[in-house]
């Protein structure tokens, strides 16, 4: 399996080269790869049917417990065959549809990458590996959807699809990690083997919700359905591939895959049936508003996906049987319908079904394919679609409300089939924007072959019953399940309901031309529900981003400082009040003399002057007074060496500051902003000062460990021959620190020198030029 996947990715890489060489006929040659993969999956059929899944494991990231584990059972086989088989025909079809497009090489690269990723999704036996392939399908489909389209809107749509599916995918990853930690393994087959552990775990609802979110977004379930019709900007081969058999079915696959592990609970039942039901309902109603053949098909796809989710949610053997057959039938008819719609667009120039008629003469083969697929889509005998629909009715017999919804949906699906497969072709008068002619063979093989398969399997369901349908259903149910498929069930209730559906659908189709314009006029421009929520949410997101950026991000240095100080003070001060830390603080103003208070008064006064004054010279002088005051305090408390250092440093700082400040424009000193800002800054500054004072008092209140003092006293003369302990520490005991400080100074000096040298002799006019870099929108 690993080799097959590597082959597929490898083929994706050489595909552009092959296309470049062969040009038009490349599609036929490249289709050999998916054809070969189809044969490979077919060859696995007998052993899978016999209950022996293909298993392969290669270690990948043992630290995370992730391995390249693959497992092909009935469900994987069904999906693998659809992906590779339809991929074969899509490759051929695209060769014709995109003939002459100079981006065709890139298209094949993306298409085969996508196909390989999709195969990876369905054959992975490891949750993380599955996620890897899952996100790969998101990326590649993002490019495929955006392919060939340059308009702002289709780019936005591609991004929308990516945002929704990749976002859901990340939620799914969280769910997977949760599942992994619940069960202690990421291997899917082991999860399936021990469902009780998961279902009874307290985190089960959360894990279920996260995983389901991934599945629902991918499979375009309500309320995430809106991205799928918007993705119809993609060229027809992409639509037919992504929206029939692959991309959108990945969500259905995931739910079906995990059904034995997560299913069977009330939460599972209600979540899936409600969402699936809502999807069917919403998509059914929205379908009525469409005229574009591809959008009609897109909404009918959502209806079908909703039905499948619904059936998985119900989870009875009958429902699962119906789901499997319906899924197979849907893939076989939806792909040819998309291809036919694309052919009509390509050869006759429109997808608006109200503008097309009478194409059947000039495009008979396309009509044949579309017609056969349409009969299947409408759920009419003798096609496989009929069997699928009958089974779905039977599977929902116990739930009349769901059944009623499904009947309405069935009628609308018939309407879609008529609109896409009958209306554009039938009639004698030819209406089309450009002179229609038959599509080239490459664009006929696919639709015809797939539609023919739908017919064959409908007439002889026994062909796929044992080898494909039973193993697939067994994989979803987690237990072997024997059933037989018949085209003719006898006169059952389901048949009656089918008749009801058909008559309803025919009635709708017959009157469509009359009521559809009215409906469109009334509701066409309304944007409600999830789309509005999405767009509103998007705007809200941008507004939030702008707001928070404005709050924490400004050009003002003082703003930055205020935030930093305020945050630090709030943090430490809050913690100190809340959890303690200042217990050792002592307040003991013992025996202070008056002149000592005088020094402090001078320092405080000078500080106030620094803050209040607008004159630069006054500010600088006052700063000097503060520093000298501190130095005098040192003198007072018998630390002459500290005092002299302080005097020297302060003198230097005052001189340098004076030199710098005089060069600054006078506005630089005056703070901008109003009174409030000044008060705020002041409050923050005072709080900061108070906190530091408290902390200092707390530290001095602690018992002092004199070990270091004693050590230096005892050792500085004998070990280092020095009597000045401070000097000995600097040049001897901590000499390396001093050396490093010298390096720091050297760096600073070098850097300042470099900057000065660069700026000397340069006019200020140059410097004033501002550039148009970046900036917020």
């Amino acid at each position: 399996m690993l080799i097959a996947l590597l082959l597929a990715f490898g083929a994706a890489l050489v595909a552009p080269w092959v296309t470049g060489r062969l040009g038009r006929s490349a599609g036929w040659l490249l289709a050999l790869l998916p054809a070969g993969l189809t044969l490979y999956f077919l060859s696995l059929g007998p052993r899978v049917a016999a209950g022996e899944p293909l298993v392969q494991r290669v270690s990948w990231v043992p630290q995370l417990g992730v391995e390249l584990a693959f497992r092909v059972d009935g469900l994987a086989l069904l999906f693998g065959l659809l992906i590779a088989g339809i991929g074969t025909f899509v490759a051929v079809y695209a060769g014709g549809y995109l003939a002459g497009d100079r981006q065709l090489p890139r298209f094949y690269l993306l298409l085969f990458s996508f196909m390989a990723a999709m195969l990876g999704v369905v054959t992975s036996d490891d949750l993380i590996l599955l996620f890897v392939f899952w996100e790969l399908t998101s990326i590649t489909s993002f490019f495929l959807i955006g392919f060939q389209h340059e308009s702002e809107e289709s780019r936005a749509n591609a991004l929308q699809g990516l945002f929704v599916t990749a976002g859901g995918g990340l939620a799914m990853l969280a769910g997977f990690v949760l599942l992994g930690s619940m069960a202690g393994t990421y291997r899917i087959s082991e999860l399936l083997a021990s469902p009780a552990v998961l279902v009874e775990h307290p985190a089960y609802p959360l894990a279920l919700a996260l995983v389901a979110l991934g599945a629902f977004t991918k499979s375009a379930q309500w309320p995430f359905h809106f991205w799928l019709p918007n993705a119809m900007a993609a060229p027809a081969p992409v639509s037919s591939y992504l929206h029939s058999a692959t991309m959108v079915k990945a969500g259905v696959y995931l739910l079906a895959r995990l059904a034995p592990a997560l299913g069977g609970t009330p939460q599972w039942f209600w979540l899936l049936t409600l969402v699936g039901g809502a999807t069917v309902l919403a998509a059914t109603l929205l379908t009525l508003l469409q005229r574009d053949s591809k959008r009609l098909l897109a909404y009918s796809t959502i209806v079908a996906l909703g039905t499948m989710v619904l059936l998985i949610g119900v989870g009875t053997p009958a429902a699962i049987k119906a789901m499997v057959v319906f899924l197979f039938a849907h893939a076989l008819y939806k792909a040819p319908l998309f291809m036919a719609a694309g052919s009509v667009d390509h050869e006759a120039g429109s997808r608006d079904v109200t503008r097309l008629a009478g194409l059947g003469r000039s495009m008979p083969w396309t009509w044949l394919a579309a017609g056969l697929a349409g009969i299947s889509a409408a759920g009419l005998p003798p096609m496989l679609g009929f069997i699928g629909k009958e089974l779905a009715y039977e599977g929902l017999m116990g739930a009349p409300w769901l059944l009623a919804g499904l009947i309405a949906a069935g009628a609308v699906l018939l309407l879609v089939a008529v609109q896409v497969a009958w209306v554009p072709f039938a009639g004698r008068t030819v209406r089309a924007p450009k002179a229609p002619h038959e599509a080239p063979p490459s664009m006929l093989v696919g639709p015809l072959a797939l539609a023919a398969l739908g017919l064959t399997f409908g007439l002889v369901p026994g062909l796929v019953q044992d080898g494909l349908m039973r193993p697939a259903a067994a994989a979803v149910l987690g237990a072997p399940y024997a059933f037989d498929l018949y085209l003719w069930h006898g006169l059952t209730l389901a048949l009656g309901l089918s008749l009801l559906t058909v008559s309803l659908g025919v009635a709708l189709a017959a009157t469509w031309r009359r009521w559809q314009p009215l409906l469109l006029a009334r509701f066409g421009g309304v944007r409600v529900g999830p789309v509005a929520v999405y767009e509103g949410g998007w705007r809200w997101l941008l507004r939030f981003a702008a707001l928070q950026t404005r709050f924490v991000q400004s050009d003002d240095l003082r703003h930055h400082l205020t935030i930093i100080v305020a945050f630090t003070v709030a943090l430490t001060g809050g913690v100190a009040l809340w959890r303690g830390g200042l217990e050792s603080m002592v307040w003991a103003p013992s025996g202070a003399y008056l002149h000592e208070f005088l020094y402090f008064a001078v320092i405080l006064l000078a500080t106030a002057t620094v803050v209040r004054s607008h004159s630069r010279l006054v500010v600088i002088t006052s700063l000097g007074v503060v520093g000298f005051g501190v130095a005098f305090v040192f003198v007072l408390f018998a630390a002459p060496d500290l005092a002299i250092t302080q005097f020297l440093v302060d003198t230097l700082v005052v001189i340098i500051a004076a030199l710098v400040l005089i060069r600054l424009p006078s506005s630089a000193l005056r703070g901008e902003g109003g009174r409030d800002i000044r008060w705020l800054s002041g409050a923050v500054a005072i709080a900061g000062g108070a906190l530091i004072t408290g902390l200092l008092l707390a530290v001095t209140g602690l018992p002092f460990d004199g070990a270091l003092t004693r050590f230096f006293e005892a050792n500085s003369y004998p070990a280092a021959n020095g009597r000045n302990i401070v000097n000995v520490i600097l040049v001897d005991f901590r000499a390396v620190d001093t050396l490093a400080e010298v390096v720091v100074l050297a760096v600073a000096a070098g850097g300042v020198g470099a900057l000065l040298r660069r700026r000397l002799g340069r006019g200020d006019a140059d410097a004033a030029r501002r550039e148009p870099d970046g900036g917020a929108q």
């Binding site: 990231v61 935030i563 945050f567 959890r579 490093a740 030029r769 870099d773």
Partner: protein, 496 residues
């Protein structure tokens, strides 16, 4: 008092000394000759020599299985310091090559430029190898001072000067806070060295736990400024945008990795020292709030940017948040996750800035997103490289960025920070949008008449891109290459 041997195993200093020596050599060479073209080569030689010594020491330490110290415990050679030194030197080497390729047009050929880069890297090595808080401060200052100057290097640019000035003022303030925290920590425990702090706090009669907590908070603030945790990140977008692009690349990898190395060691020690209970809970809680804020602020800030360089700057904040998750998780798993994340981010980030450099104007300006329009067709290889890197940074498999996020989230969840991991995942969805926008512009948008044509890429820059790209893919497909290598020496936190 039981002090470690004063000299110790001085050999662990060799990489740092090598860098300093080469800085001096490069400076002398640059001042006394006119041969500017050779400066980059000389600087690169220094970095490679230091890298070789580091790898050698690392191998030796793995064989011996114990951490070594030098200078009385001030300097440590253990898995954390070697792994992070390795990452720093790789980042520095790539940045040196990148700067060299655009030396002339960005006016980076003054004799001081390369020495400052080397000294900054040396400071980074000191920072991640520091065994006590004083050495840590020294490393931080050596690195920061050099970077303050480099950030203001761009000539004739008010933005660059203003950014450098702001960075310097705020950075000095943050350093002051850090010094304050160190003093408080010393006040509480009587020790500067990590081992001593841990031992003092473990003593049964240790009374100043509350004070130690306040000191730890101050230290955290000082380091949070350097790694750009919100709300201490405000300098970053301006400085990253204002600095010459090779310097931005350097800062985004070297400065960040070094600061995280120090943060891992410091928080690891302090969280352990504070123990469990009401006081011990505070530091992780504060860290968690800050990290959550960082992820939100970084990702949402990046969402709004129309300049690619500025977008990368904000996303650098976001990535700091993700590495922060690993710091918070702590333990061996946390350190390993952080090292993997930073290791792969180094390649991706430098390569992204390398691509950006070849799209910007001669004077290193103009980074608007529209410039990338149609790049997919006009320069397919360049576009493909940038696309892979953007997708990796966004966390898409099978690239290294995905594994990085996966190991980080896993470490966080395993350490009981599931809620924060979920927040990380949600903000990563936002990141998908702004990274995908770059990819989309390259492939799905037609260039108009004003779109400049990308310049030819100097061979050296192409090498940087190729290395970055290859590493992003290879370490994404085979993450075990790094994870296995570091996991085999489980002595991250041991040896205090």
């Amino acid at each position: 008092m039981n002090l470690p041997p004063i000299m110790g195993d001085l050999v662990v200093l060799v990489p740092v000394v090598t860098l300093v020596v080469f800085a001096a050599l490069t400076l002398l060479f640059g001042v006394f000759t006119r041969e500017r073209a050779a400066l980059g080569g000389l600087a690169l030689t220094g970095v490679i020599a230091a890298l070789v010594f580091t790898v050698f020491l690392w191998l030796q330490a793995r064989a011996g299985g114990v951490a070594v110290t030098a200078l009385g415990g001030a300097f440590r050679g253990d898995a954390l310091s070697y792994a992070f030194s390795f990452i720093i030197l790789i980042g520095a080497g790539l940045a040196v090559v990148l700067a060299d390729g655009h030396r002339v047009r960005l006016q980076l050929d003054q004799p001081e430029f390369h020495p400052l880069l080397l000294l900054a890297a040396a400071g980074g090595l000191v920072l991640v190898s520091a065994g006590d808080l004083v050495t840590l401060l020294l490393g931080l200052e050596i690195m920061s001072l050099a970077v303050y100057v480099l950030a203001a290097w761009r000539e004739r640019s008010r933005v660059s000067e203003e950014a450098g000035m702001k960075y310097f003022l705020l950075g000095a303030f943050a350093s002051a806070v850090l010094v304050y925290g160190i003093a408080l920590t010393f006040g509480a425990t009587g020790r500067f060295d990590f081992a001593g702090i841990a031992a003092a706090a473990a003593a049964p009669d240790f009374a100043a736990r509350g004070l130690l907590l306040l000191g730890a908070l101050f230290v955290l603030v000082g380091l949070a400024f350097k790694v750009a945790f919100a709300p201490f990140h405000q300098w970053l977008p301006d400085v990253y945008t204002g600095a010459p692009t090779p310097v931005t690349a350097f800062m985004s990898v070297v400065v960040k990795t070094a600061a995280f190395g120090a943060l891992l060691r410091t928080t690891g020690t302090l969280v352990d020292a504070l123990g469990v209970g009401p006081i011990g809970e505070v530091l992780p809680a504060v860290l968690a709030v800050s990290i959550g804020l960082t992820m939100v602020v970084g990702n949402f800030g990046a969402l709004l940017q129309s300049g690619v360089k500025r977008m990368l700057a904000y996303s650098a904040v976001a990535h700091a948040g993700y590495v922060g998750l690993a710091v918070l998780a702590g333990g061996d798993a946390g350190v390993q996750a952080a090292s993997y994340y930073l290791f792969t981010y180094t390649f991706a980030s430098v390569a992204a800035f390398a691509v950006l450099l070849s799209l910007m104007d001669d004077d290193d300006r103009g980074d608007r997103l529209e410039r990338l329009a149609g790049l997919g067709r006009r320069r397919p290889w360049l576009a493909a490289a940038l696309a892979v890197i953007m997708l990796s940074l966004a966390g898409f498999p099978p690239f290294a960025g995905f594994i990085g996020k996966a190991v980080v989230f896993q470490a966080a969840i395993a350490a009981g920070h599931a809620a924060l991991a979920v927040l990380g995942i949600s903000t990563a969805v936002v990141a998908v949008v702004f990274y995908a926008r770059v990819v989309m512009t390259m492939y799905l948008r037609e260039p108009d008449a004003h779109t400049p044509v990308a310049r030819p890429i100097p061979r050296r820059t192409a090498v940087v891109m190729a290395i970055g790209l290859a590493a992003t893919v290879v370490f994404g497909l085979f993450p075990g290459l790094w994870l296995d290598w570091i996991a085999r020496a489980p002595w991250w936190s041991a040896g205090f």
